[in-house]
Structure formats: C-alpha cells, structure tokens
C-alpha cells in the first residue's frame, strides 16, 4: 500500500481529477437535495460522460455523486421535511423540528460537518482495514442478516413516539406493506388485488415522499398557514463550525462506526445505518427527551452514520467484487467498463488507480465541506419563501420525483396514498417513522428469515448457534429493555413534575 500512497496523492491533485470531484459533487448535491432523485440516478446520468475519461477520474466523478447525494438528502429533509434520499429519513424529524424553531442554519451545518466526518472516517477505514473488514462481513449468513434486521427494528423502541404500542402497530404495518408484490422465495403475487399498481410492490421513495412531504402539505393546508418559514437573521454557517460540532464528537465517532459496519455488510444500506445510529445516540444521550423534537445530536448521529456507509460499501465491492447495494452495483459496472476487475487482485494489479480512487474518495469528502456550504447558502434561501408558494412547489417536485423513480404514474398514486396515510397517522398520534423503518427492513427480514428457516428445516436454534446472530440477538434484547426502562423512568419523572406543578 505504502508504495502507491504518495503517487496516488499526487495523482489526485491533477487538474482532471480535481475537476472530476467538483463535477461529481455538484451533480450529487443537486440530485440528492431534490426529493425522489437518488444518487443512483445521478450516477446513471453521468455514467456515459465518464466512458472517455481516464479510469481514476471517471471513478472519482461517480464517487463524488455518491457522497454528495448521500449528504444532500439532508438539505431537503431539514428545509422542507422531505428527505431527498432514503438515507436521510432519520434526519427528517429532528432536522425539520430545528428548522421550525428557526435553527435551520444550525441543522444544515451540523448535517454537513457530520456527513464530512462520517465520510472521512469511512474513507480512512476503506484505506486501512478494507480487506479484513470485508472478510468479516462476508461471514454473514441469512440468520445473521435476519438478526441484523431485527436489531434494526428494535430501534422502534427508541423512535416509536409517545405511544410505543401505536409505534409498533405502525412498524408492523410497514413490514406488512413491504410484503406487497412478488414473494421473494416463491415468486407469487401477494395482496395485489389483481391490479398492476401493486404488482411490483410499494417503492420506498414514493412511500417516503408521501409519508413525509405530502402529509406535511396536507397538515399545513389544514392549518391554513401562509406565513414564511422561520429563519435566522444570520446565514453565516461559520458559527457552527468544527469547534461547535466538537461537543458531539463521541456521537459522530460512534455513528460513523455503525455506518462503517452496516456499510461493509452487503445488502443493508445507509437508511438502516442512520436509524440504528439514531437509536443508539438516543439511548446514550443525556437528553433523550429532545429526540424527535429538534435534537442537534440526532441530526449529527444519523448524518455521520449515513455518510459513514459510503466508503464502507466500497469495501466488499473493491476487495471482493460484491456490490452491497444498487449504487455500488452501478459503480462496479463503471469500474468494469474502464477495464478494471473488482476483487482481491484489484489492489495488486491496478494498485495506482485503486489507491487514487480511495484517496480521491477522501478528498471528495474534504471538498464536500466547501461545496456543501455553498449548497446550504443556495438552498437556505428556500426558508425565506412563504409557505403558500413553497409548499405547492414542493408538491410539484415530489410528484415528479415519485414519477421519476420508475417512469410510472402508479408511483405518484402510491405517494398520494401514503401522504393521506401519513397525514391521518400523525393526526391520531401514530408516528410515521416506525412505518418507514418497517418498510426499509421488512424485505431483508422476510427473505432472510425464510432462507434461514428453510436451511434449518424450521428449527429456531439457527438464530442462537452462530456468534454473529447471537450478538445481534443480545443487542436487540438489551436495546429494547434499556429503552423500555428509560421510557418508564421518563414517565415517572414527568408525573412527579406534574404532581409538583399541580
């Protein structure tokens, strides 16, 4: 590795590579901030332009899109309560609540710095321990994956809202909704009611757009508000620099580690990582009661985790040739188009290019800090627009975003229906976040449960025989018990305060 390090660093500073970083980040920040447009779409749009580029520059461009879009999902999540990407779903509640309190600039800056930290952390891990980590991640079997999904679902005990049972109801509904469409094991249709709309299942992005954006529009219509969104007097983000974010260093480190572990595990994703980091941050926080109501720490946790995933997803892709998700599958395709074969030999046969890409990844994250500040300034102006103009524009964006997911009008209907569900749910004290977690994890949980039980011929012992499964099972139990106890403690404190007040 060391013999490639200095030439790779020098190569990264070549004008073409620097320009590639800027181009990739600009596209990534734009598509990420637009609801419904994903990093995959941005990468796919730029892919044909990279064919004639040198291999390293091509990969750096696409990695720029990936990192930029993963971060930028938080911009729209904070400003208009619409996560640009699924990865920013955990940021919505606290980021938007901070915006509502007139602290949008703080939330945006925290998200940016935490994302850069998470990205750099995962980049360093990618550079140093990639092959070792990939070996561990590859040992995961279906039972381990199921337990991992179960652990993810246990986050509901932390984010289930005031009424936990209603949160759990929503989570179970979310998992149920994820089963609509084609059964993963036997390929039969489930709950399609004979319609084409439901045949391909419920898309995560249209559901996300509906649950968070359209529902918000409906609830604002109910209130009849046409005022301007609250903004701070100063738009300077320098007040919320590294010195400010330093107080959240442990949350960032912990969340980045969660992001790296989840990211290195194929078939998971940034959304799961950010929800897990959110849950863990809440569990260990000194102020868990602030979570969901505008906690800066929550924004930091979810954003450092989802960007912590970015570098880690490249680990199994580069070292073993296994794409962990759709983005890395497209990136792997791009690598192969350039004549490079991902796998263990990539580091020896094409060392200079590989290390240039990895160091380029780190530089992309550094550059993102500056380009992200520019993006915040541009997108920050959104807060000054009156709601009666902003929300209809958001609605149009959302509907186009839902349509763009698969060029299908049915996705728009799904977004509208989920918008109505989200509006009614919030109205009747049902938190929508557990439903989203259920939707995200339902597929992974079901396919791996079926696979694991088929292998074990129905024996549940498979979930306690392997150390990885057992570890996740223990963590799940501990996490739930801890959260239930803290809920009870919080309730008692609230009651005693009420009694003293009364």
């Amino acid at each position: 590795m060391l013999e490639y390090f200095i030439p790779s660093v020098l190569s990264c500073f070549q004008p073409i590579n620097l320009l590639s970083m800027v181009l990739g980040l600009a596209v990534g920040l734009t598509v990420g901030a637009m609801p419904g447009l994903s990093g995959v779409m941005g990468i796919t749009i730029l892919l044909p332009f990279t064919f004639k580029m040198p291999a390293a520059a091509a990969m750096i461009t696409l990695i720029g899109v990936y990192c930029g879009s993963t971060y930028a999902g938080s911009i729209s999540a904070i400003l208009i309560k619409t996560p640009g990407t699924a990865a920013a779903a955990a940021t919505v509640s606290d980021g938007y609540a901070l915006n509502q309190k007139g602290r949008a600039q703080e939330a945006l800056s925290l998200a940016l710095y935490a994302s850069v930290f998470g990205g750099l952390f995962s980049g360093i891990v990618l550079l140093t321990v990639a092959p070792q980590l990939a070996k561990v991640a590859l040992k995961f079997n279906s039972a381990d994956y199921f337990m991992l999904a179960l652990f993810g679902l246990s986050v509901i005990s932390a984010v289930g809202g005031k009424r936990l049972l209603r949160g759990m109801t929503m989570a179970a509904l979310g998992v149920f909704i994820s089963t609509i469409g084609i059964d993963p094991a036997e390929g039969v249709y489930r709950f399609t009611f004979g319609t084409r709309i439901l045949a391909k299942g419920i898309g995560l992005v249209p559901a996300l757009i509906g649950l968070f954006a359209i529902s918000e529009l409906l609830s604002q219509t109910e209130k009849g508000i046409h005022a301007t969104g609250k903004t701070e007097q100063s738009t300077a983000s320098s007040r919320y620099g590294w010195r400010y974010i330093w107080q959240y260093r442990w949350t960032m480190i912990k969340s980045s580690i969660i992001g790296v572990i989840i990211g290195a595990t194929p078939g998971t994703g940034a959304a799961i990582a950010s929800f897990m980091a959110y849950g863990e941050a809440k569990r260990s926080s000194k102020h868990p009661e602030e979570y969901g109501k505008g906690s800066p720490e929550a924004v930091v946790a979810s954003e450092s985790a989802n960007n912590g995933v970015t570098g880690a997803t490249l680990i199994p892709m580069l070292t073993l040739g296994i794409p962990g998700d759709v983005v890395t599958a497209v990136l792997m395709g791009a690598l192969m188009i350039q004549g490079l074969n991902p796998g263990p030999k990539l580091f020896t046969d094409n060392g200079p290019i590989t290390y240039t890409v990895i160091i380029g990844f780190l530089l992309v994250n550094v550059l993102m800090l500056y380009m992200g500040k520019l993006a915040i300034r541009v997108f920050g102006q959104i807060c000054k627009i009156p709601y009666s103009i902003l929300l209809p524009v958001v609605l149009a964006f959302c509907l186009v975003g839902a349509y763009a997911c698969s060029n299908s009008i049915y996705d728009c209907l799904i977004a509208i229906v989920f918008g109505i569900i989200g509006y009614l749910a919030e109205k009747f004290d049902f938190s929508t976040t557990p439903m989203l977690i259920g939707l995200v994890l339902g597929g992974i949980a079901e396919s791996n449960l079926v696979r694991a039980l088929t292998v074990s011929k129905g024996s549940l012992l498979i979930f306690v025989q392997r150390p990885i499964s057992l570890l996740f099972l223990t963590l799940t139990v501990l996490f739930i018990v801890y959260n239930l106890r803290s809920r009870r403690r919080q309730k008692r404190v609230d009651q005693s305060i009420e009694r003293e007040g009364g």
Partner: protein, 166 residues
C-alpha cells in the same frame, strides 16, 4: 368516572379500532390474495407466513394499546395525553386538496403534465391562503414548464404530454 374522560377515551381509541378492523379484514381476505406456496406443505413457511404474522402483530398491538389506555383511564383515573391545538382547522381544504391530487393523477395522461401540474399548484396555493392573482398564475406556469424541461430534457424522465402536448 368523568364523562369527558370517557368521551376522550372513545375518541382516542376509534382510530386504533379502525386499524384493528382493517388488519382483520386483510387477514380474512389473505387466502384469496396469496396462493399457497409449495413450501407451505413442508413447514409453516410460505408466501402467506410473513404477511399473516405481521397482520396478527398489528391486531395484537392495537388490542394491547386499547387495553393499556383503558387501564390508565378507568383504573388509574388518569386522562390520556392529547395535543389539542387552538388553531382553527380547515378540513374542507384538506379534502379539496386530496380531490385535486386524485384529479391530477387521473387526468395526467390525458391532459398532460404541464397543464395539470400548473392547475394543481394554483389550487394548492389558493387552499394555503394565497390570494395574489399574479403569483397564482405566474408561479405554477413557470414551475411546471421548468420542471418539465428539466426532467424531460436533462434527466430522461418522460413526463406525460397529454392531448394538448402540454
């Protein structure tokens, strides 16, 4: 037993009951919606297994929630936490917006993206309380055209043109 508390309890639990009955209805129609898989003969698993477990879960959580709240209200005599806001509600506007959204969906292919989106945006601006005529005409027109051009020309998203090529 306070009459208000009882009323509040019923009002609070009604949505939970609705969810419970929806889940129950889905459980009843489950056999007609999911064919029995081949694996079902060998074990409990099959395409029906997971949806059935989840629907049972939904029903169970609903019942536990109703029972828990009943315990709090009837036994411990504690009122349920509610967030009643003082702001007036405009439910008719919400209903009108939902109708506008459904109309947008149903007429999109026939009428076209630009025209339908402009109308939807104008309607939602009105419902949100905007009364500036110039804004209501110009902003939806500009944004729907801009969105169409952006998505159709640069992002390869083919939005419906409709009968009037709008």
């Amino acid at each position: 037993m306070n009459q208000n508390m009882l009323k509040q309890y019923i009002r609070q639990e009604l949505p939970v009951l609705v969810v419970f009955f929806v889940a129950m209805a889905l459980l009843i129609v489950l056999p007609s919606q999911i064919p029995e898989g081949k694996m079902a003969q060998a074990s409990v698993l099959g395409p029906r297994f997971f949806p059935r477990v989840m629907l049972c879960g939904v029903m169970l959580f609903c019942l536990l929630g109703i029972a828990g709240d009943a315990n709090q209200v009837f036994r411990n005599k504690q009122p349920l936490e509610t967030e009643e806001s003082a702001t007036p509600k405009h439910y008719r506007n919400v209903l009108a917006l939902i109708v506008a959204l459904m109309a947008w969906y149903l007429l999109l292919k026939t009428v076209g993206f630009i025209l339908m989106t402009a109308i939807l945006m104008a309607v939602s601006m009105l419902l949100l309380g905007n009364r500036n005529k110039l804004q209501i005409v110009l902003i939806p027109t500009f944004f729907s055209v801009a969105l169409y051009l952006l998505f159709a020309n640069y992002l390869n998203v083919m939005l419906p043109k409709g009968l009037f090529y709008l």
